[in-house]
């Protein structure tokens, strides 16, 4: 049956997932999605899937938030450039 720790993690995962959706600021959302990925990987680990847990940490908690952050930086730069052009 489901252990107490697994049950706790399920609750935490549901809360984290809800928080990802509720967060409106993309910058904060990337951190929230990173936390969500970390909780998910712990859950995978507790269900005896260490391989999947490692992939989840690598992709869900590191690579995905990183790509979001870099894309946000690129968007911000493009916006700044456009504004600078308009002011010229």
């Amino acid at each position: 049956m489901i252990g107490a720790l697994q049950f706790l993690l399920f609750i935490l995962l549901a809360l984290a997932g809800m928080q990802v959706v509720r967060t409106r600021e993309p910058l904060a959302q990337s951190i929230a999605v990173s936390f969500y990925g970390l909780v998910l990987s712990l859950l995978f680990f507790l269900h005896q899937a260490p391989d999947v847990a490692l992939s989840q940490i690598a992709v869900g908690a590191v690579a995905l938030p990183l790509m979001i952050l870099l894309a946000l930086a690129k968007i911000r730069r493009a916006r700044q450039e456009r504004e600078a052009e308009q002011n010229r």
Binding site: M1, I2, Q6, H47, Q48, P50, D51, A53, L54, S55, I57, A58, V59, V62, A63, L66, M67, L70, A71, A73, K74, R77, E81
Partner: protein, 246 residues
């Protein structure tokens, strides 16, 4: 407003009831009714000398699928590089002298943390890639871990240091070698008169790092390709975006 709440409550109650009715019919946690999992658990250590059955499936029994996955990553990196390269050409002539290199952080604490983190991530990544057949992990996971080392260096130093440690020619060559190496190892089977990606190398002792034949080398090529692909992506973004920020 009130009507919306009533509608939501009715919908939520209905969904909840249906959900719990469905969840009651699920098999217990850990329940498994297929045949392949049991078969692979029973035969893979004996047949392939790989103590990590997941790796044996990914890199041997279903090695062709992993080849496809590797080329998905290859194609994505290629796509990002192509899209962002075009924009660079558009803007290059105009504001070239306007941007300057990002300064290294002043904090000693950040640099000390980096000095600790870099050897840790490098050795852990290499361990994970090379022990994919023995313990959880493998080329994909280890490659991503390995790719975070240059990122830490970038965070602790400047973009110039990042580009010196991972110059574009090196990452491009490593990614090509990693992706192509998988196919070359697959062709070993054909050369030996057997099937593509068949495990034709000596299998070694189960549990030893040097074991399970081609699985070890396929992990190495995937690790190189994934690490290089991620560093390539980082380098593209860092070159295009972050270095121009003052």
């Amino acid at each position: 407003m009130r009507l919306r709440l009533v509608l939501f409550a009715a919908g939520a109650l209905g969904l909840g009831a249906a959900y719990f009715a469905a969840a009651r019919g699920l098999p217990p946690v850990g329940g498994y009714s297929g045949a392949y999992g049991e078969v692979l658990n029973a035969v893979s250590v004996g047949e392939r000398h790989a103590t990590d059955v997941v790796s044996a499936v990914n890199f041997d029994y279903r090695g062709l699928d992993t080849l496809g996955e590797e080329f998905i990553l290859f194609a994505s990196v290629l796509g990002v590089a192509t899209i962002l390269r075009k924009q660079q050409g558009d803007e290059e002539d105009r504001d070239e002298p306007a941007w300057q290199a990002r300064q290294a952080p002043d904090s000693d604490a950040v640099r000390v943390l980096g000095v600790w983190l870099v050897p840790l991530t490098v050795s852990f990544g290499l361990y994970m890639i090379s022990h994919g057949a023995v313990s959880p992990g493998g080329g994909f996971q280890g490659g991503v871990v390995l790719a975070t080392a240059p990122l830490v260096i970038y965070l602790c130093a400047t973009a110039k240091t990042f580009l010196r440690i991972a110059p574009p020619w090196l990452t491009k060559a490593a990614e090509a070698i990693g992706a192509g190496g998988y196919v070359v190892i697959g062709c070993l089977g054909v050369l030996a008169g057997k099937q593509f990606l068949e495990n034709v190398l000596p299998l070694g002792t189960p549990g030893a790092a040097w074991s399970s034949g081609t699985i070890l080398f396929l992990n190495l090529t995937v690790g190189i390709a994934v690490a290089a692909g991620f560093v390539e992506l980082l380098a593209i973004f860092i070159e295009e975006v972050l270095r121009r920020e003052t």
